[in-house]
Amino acid sequence: MSEPLLRIEGLRTVFRTSGGDVPAVDGVSLEVHRGKTLGIVGESGCGKSVLSLSVMRLVAHPGRIAAGRVMLGQRDLASLSMAEMRQVRGRDIAMIFQEPMTSLNPVHSVGFQITEAIRAHDPRASNAELRNRGIEALKRVRIPSPERRFDEYPHQLSGGMRQRVMIAMALACSPKLLIADEPTTALDVTVQAQILDLLRELQAETGMAIILITHDLGVIAEMTDEVAVMYSGKVVERTNARALFEDPQHPYTLGLLGSIPRLDEDRENLLAIRGTVPPPFNLPPGCRFNPRCPFAIDSCRAEIPPLRSIIPGHEVACIRAPVEASVAA
């Protein structure tokens, strides 16, 4: 495969607490390729949002990147100054968030906010040019009557429209990479389908890469090429989207698949994962999933299993995988 657009290497993001540094992202390595979508899936507290904020260098105090590199081409974003990073945000990498209402400024018009990134990266653009480019951006995300919407305020728009405006803002400077953090979680299911459809179309038009963060395996199946499953700050399984559903390996992935009710089968009981996610300041020894894992043995508690290649292109951080071989033995 060609050189990746973005390569995350051994990224570790910690939060300082009175009890010492607590890792939210703990040694994550991932690649994102041009024109492709990388999905990151996991539950609350797995570190997926902190990971994306780390790439954008938006982790706020007391959090900081403690180790690792975020390579965009030849540049390591983790070592850029804030001024240099501002040149990257919006132009090279843009981000959209879960809650389109709180991410938009209620006192500025839609048009003002959309053109903000253009003004920042191209301060000499005239007002007429800004308006044209802003309306163009609204057209691109299929907003009806964009000339009128340009002068409206966020409260005048529906949830789906607001998320379209967010996407228009993010794409205003044609970034190479879009990070979408739970972009449809707050939306109704028919509106979610519209937004996912739009993201797919825009990706086909522009060739941008997408990092899609979600807790929803349905959205993963619908949207992504490659997938990383995260648990407690670590990637526990990494493969292409097809293999994740057809050949799931990590017990946590299995538990997630078993927990979602499916429309296409009838099961008496859902296969719930017992227990809860461990707090990052009190992680269990060894594999972090071991207290919840039905396949755990003593060696699972002894050391943290590294990601290993189980078949080419499919990595899993579990000494018991594939589970059928371990159970039979």
Binding site: A193, L217, E222, G258
Partner: protein, 348 residues
Amino acid sequence: MSVLLEVENLAKHYPVRKGAILARQVGLVRAVDGVSFTLNRGETLALVGESGCGKSTTARLVLRLIEPTTGAVKFKGTDITTLDGATLKGFRRNAQIVFQDPYASLNPRYTVGQTISEPMEVHNIGDAASRRARVEELLKLVGLAPYHAQRYGHEFSGGQRQRIGIARALAVEPDLVVCDEPVSALDVSIQAQVVNLLRDLQRRLGLAYLFIAHDLAVVKHVADRIAVMYLGRIVEIGEKRALFSNPRHPYTRALLAAIPHPDPSRKGRVTPLGGDVPSPMNIPPGCRFHTRCPYAQDICRQQDPVLKDGVACHLADQLPPAGVDFAGGLAPNAAKRLALYAEAAARS
């Protein structure tokens, strides 16, 4: 099966006023606009729909937490919309609710024991000692431990808090539990735990659930019958299996088709429904779904369809068979390993 709850032509309209002193009415939000259904003992009826369809308002009307504009709610044959005093309190003992947000619905100053025993105190059930014993029994019933009674709500995770909310609802041995999006705020692995618990409790205690949800996959798992709501009305109601295998209303079809399916081979096969839900202050004339319906004709723009044989659509009998296909299921390797997972989980 005997009928527990009968809802007849229920409506809740909120006037919209403008002006501070001489306020005048400038509009009417028709949140619930003529809803009828029945619920049998021991049965689960799910009300599903998107934001603003009136499902939560309907739930609150059924419990008379808010007063209806018109319509009747008959519980065991008695219209509860006219009850007051002791008779209303008697109804409240029989009908309880579990709320969506387990973080907001527990009093932070109460211990778990106080939270669970409060409904028993309100209804003068037992003495202090027997209530304490009942709290312990309830905690065990929902999968918590008796010593949790001394702790406070904030010490628990979301899933555990929802178990506490369920224990509180069950404390007075109700026949009806209204579950208002009980798992929507929870992570998927925890969602499954709570869904399994609700089903298990229903089987053991013979509870009837009115289950409010927006997630059709969860609903498919818990419900016996499903009512699909759109802009304050039920547009389709039916037995779960029939509704999923042969959805008749175009909105039901669109809802089913829009669910992202955990199977990459069907990636991008669905054309999503266009547009947004209209405002309940400005409901379209005729069929309220016609502005988004791909099949809409003149009759749909003029005449409001009535709910007949479980569906409110002029064209229900003329539509092509529903294109939603749920064949597939888990891939063989996934199914094999999930079975091993379940086996290992049962052993340990």
